[in-house]
């Protein structure tokens, strides 16, 4: 029974991981791609690890998988924040159909103040 639940969780995780990769290909710019890859890959990988926990039961392997879930939940958003901030500072523009970019406006404002 627990094995079946484990397999179902792993399949769900694979579906989410796949959609994250598909978003990486289809979405237009680096920020939108980070959106899809961060969210889907976080949950997808966590579901796969959770499936491994159900498949193995709570033992040496299961506990390691649970710790990995915790670490992925903590580090994946932080990594996305670091990449998006760095790419904005490096000058990558938003996709041309974007609605607004308050961050660019504020950064240009502070740069002008430093110049004058």
């Amino acid at each position: 029974m627990t094995e079946t639940i484990g397999f179902i969780l792993i399949v769900c995780g694979l579906i989410f991981d796949f959609s994250g990769c598909l978003g990486l290909v289809r979405l237009p710019d680096v920020y939108n791609r980070l959106q899809s890859s961060t969210k889907c890959v976080t949950l997808g990988t966590c579901l796969i690890l959770l499936g491994a926990v159900f498949y193995n039961g709570i033992n040496a392997v299961g506990i390691k998988a649970i710790l990995c879930i915790w670490f992925i939940f903590m580090t994946s958003p932080t990594a996305a924040h670091a990449i998006s901030r760095a790419s904005h500072k490096a000058g990558y523009k938003l996709w041309k159909g974007s609605a607004c970019d308050k961050y660019l406006e504020d950064r240009q404002g502070s740069l002008k103040k430093e110049d004058s």
Partner: protein, 173 residues
């Protein structure tokens, strides 16, 4: 508050708490009660606390009160629900033939003050539907939003931040 954090007794309690946390993680990772492993674990945990305890949030031990833990237990299911919603949202946008996106970076304001609370807020925002924290400056957060519904600070704050802020304030402040 200031005097409690400076006293040696409090510092010792914090170190002891960190040591126990490290030792628990060691136990979970090795998953044996072999005496030799336990001795190595004590040495490693003590070493980590001795050399790296500056990296831990200094008032973390103050957070472990029943009321805060209760709100943490409320927060986790709500957070997981938001994560699932976020994934279905991305799944819909990616699989839709027309790519229904309207992206942009908006600015929001948070009332949270401690670094730990802001970190949790930023990470929660990143993992929930359509939003990604790009930068934090003081009380302002810059959020990349895949479907911009409100461009001004107040409107975006109400939609993105408020749902988490109320619970996080009860946990961390």
């Amino acid at each position: 508050m200031e005097s409690i954090e400076k006293s040696t007794g409090f510092k010792f309690r914090v170190r002891l708490f960190e040591f126990l946390l490290m030792f628990l993680i060691w136990l979970a990772l090795t998953w044996t009660i072999d005496p030799l492993t336990l001795i190595v674990g004590v040495i490693v945990a003590a070493g980590v606390v001795l050399f790296l305890s500056d990296l831990f949030p200094p008032n973390m031990v103050l957070l472990f009160t029943p009321r805060r833990l209760f709100w943490l237990l409320v927060y986790i299911p709500y957070f997981l629900y938001c994560v699932f919603k976020a994934n279905l949202d991305v799944l819909y946008r990616v699989l839709h033939p027309d790519l229904p996106i309207n992206p942009g970076i908006v600015k929001v304001r948070t009332a949270l003050t401690t670094d730990l609370a802001k970190t949790f807020l930023a990470n929660s925002i990143t993992l929930t539907p359509g939003t990604l924290t790009v930068d934090i400056e003081g009380e302002y957060l810059y959020i990349h939003w895949i479907n911009v519904l409100a461009k001004d600070i107040e409107g975006a704050t109400i939609i993105i931040v408020n749902k988490f802020e109320n619970i996080l304030r009860r946990i961390f402040e």
